[in-house]
């Protein structure tokens, strides 16, 4: 291992890079290590701690963010891969006029308990609803099947997504 670290430092090529990422509509630029994971860029470099870490094998989805509108596990994306792209985190969900309907729905339907999986669940839900305005229970469970919740048993999360879907269809 020590050989590997030494090799990287003497090899021709950069182990840091300047990146510019649009995060929640705001341009953020930073010099980062190429090995920095996107989730750590968000949490540590930008101080946006709403995106969480729950595992070390890309299994739990607590780190889910939207990358160009598509839900991804930010622990399995390098920050440098987000260069020039748009990232949406939970902090970017609320609209100028108030909460996003998905946030309101999670609250009204008791779709969260400890809150740790909630940011990721809401973001994936918004991506789902952008493509499918009236998803069935099965479609919702399928869309969320890359993310783990330990508290709720998913039932109220499904209700919350259905409720948000209705709100969005009604233009709320």
């Amino acid at each position: 291992m020590s050989q590997t670290i030494a090799a990287a430092e003497t090899a021709a090529g950069p182990t840091t890079r300047r990146i510019a990422v649009s995060v929640n509509g705001e341009d953020r630029a930073a010099e980062v290590e190429t090995r920095l994971l996107l989730v750590h860029f968000l949490r540590q470099t930008l101080g946006l701690t709403g995106t969480h870490v729950g595992c070390d094998t890309t299994s739990c989805g607590a780190c889910t963010v939207l990358l160009d509108g598509v839900p991804v596990k930010s622990c399995t994306v390098l920050a440098v891969q987000a260069d020039g792209r748009e990232v949406t985190t939970v902090e970017g969900l609320a609209r100028p006029e108030g909460l996003h309907p998905i946030q309101t729905a999670f609250h009204e339907e008791h779709g969260l308990q400890c809150g740790y999986c909630t940011p990721g669940m809401m973001l994936t839900a918004t991506a789902l609803l952008a493509e499918n305005a009236d998803p069935s229970e099965e479609e919702i469970r399928w869309a969320l099947s890359g993310q783990i919740c330990r508290c709720t048993g998913y039932q109220n999360i499904v209700k919350a997504v259905r409720s948000a879907a209705a709100a969005l269809r009604e233009g709320r």
Binding site: A8, G13, T34, R35, T58, P71, Q81
Partner: protein, 291 residues
């Protein structure tokens, strides 16, 4: 949770990518979706000193019907396959496998070619593509070559690719309209690797008999494997329960399962048998409906 250091490059063309790989040798890896590579790097089971990110190479995009074959570019994500209308009907074994890869989030980034190059015997695309008789195109310092999938997989996580070769596309030969396919996977939960899985493609001739069957197996061998004897037993056969049961029995014999927490060898062989039979019935049904 924290990868070791590496240098990082973003080539604009395949040629540039190949040069970079050649320059950095064994310690360089291609980064496409990263959904297999980055997890390994986070656990430090892999520690490449150079990553060559191919995500900006435009020529690697797209699923398209070409003359006599379907082309799947190296940057095609699993999710694109899940949604593509092209991967239904005659290419149904692929369309059937796509939604079962890993989980929906991983499918947004992971690529077909990345999965194939990773050569995990528990990987799904390998079997689906073997059953569809597919090949890959690899570009390297000495030029471009086409490799049949059966020759690509050498062992667990080992392909016959040279270190500086990049997979640029998958080519799936057009099996004709009277074709159906099915991918059946037993997973303990979404995102788990297969306990056992089967990819089946049935091509019917004008008389409604089986012209060719492709049967490939996941997680029951050192690589994804073709059940050649099972396939042969179906050539010219009348599609139906008897032929399918026999082919399934042969396929189970050709499987080489290893006991683990997902089950013992006897169990996994039986899953193979059951799934090949079910898959053949579904594929034949789909092939007949297409006629």
């Amino acid at each position: 949770m924290y990868p070791a250091r590496f240098t990082y490059f973003v080539p604009a063309s395949v040629g540039e990518a190949v040069s970079l790989l050649a320059e950095h040798g064994d310690e360089a890896k291609v980064l496409a979706g990263g959904q297999s590579l980055i997890p390994l790097m986070k656990l430090r089971f892999a520690a490449p000193t150079a990553l060559v990110d191919v995500n900006r190479i435009e020529t690697l995009r797209g699923i398209e019907q070409k003359d006599g074959y379907l082309r799947i570019g190296a940057l095609v994500r699993h999710k694109e396959c899940e949604r593509s209308d092209l991967l239904r009907g005659r290419y149904g074994v692929l369309g059937s496998a796509a939604p079962q890869i890993s989980d929906p989030l991983v499918r947004n980034l992971g690529t077909v070619c990345g999965s194939v190059a990773h050569a995990d015997p528990q990987g799904d695309w390998g079997s689906a593509l073997l059953a569809a008789n597919a090949s890959v195109v690899a570009e390297g310092p000495s030029g471009t070559r086409v490799i049949a999938l059966g020759e690509l997989f050498v062992g667990p996580f080992t392909t016959s690719l040279e270190p500086a070769e990049v997979l640029t596309e998958v080519r799936v030969p057009d099996p004709g309209p009277r074709t159906g396919g099915a991918y059946l996977k037993l997973e303990r939960k979404v995102g788990d690797f297969a306990t056992a899985a089967t990819a089946v493609q049935v091509e019917l001739d004008d008389a409604g008999r089986v012209a060719r069957a492709g049967i490939a197996l996941t997680a029951v061998g050192a690589t994804n494997i073709r059940a050649g004897r099972a396939e042969a037993s179906l050539t010219g056969a009348e599609p139906g329960h008897e032929a399918f049961a026999e082919a399934a029995r042969l396929a189970a014999e050709e499987a080489e399962p290893v006991a683990d927490h997902r089950g013992d060898a006897e169990y996994k062989r039986n899953v193979i048998r059951v799934f090949v039979e079910r898959g053949l019935a579904a594929a034949a049904e789909s092939a007949r409906a297409a006629a």
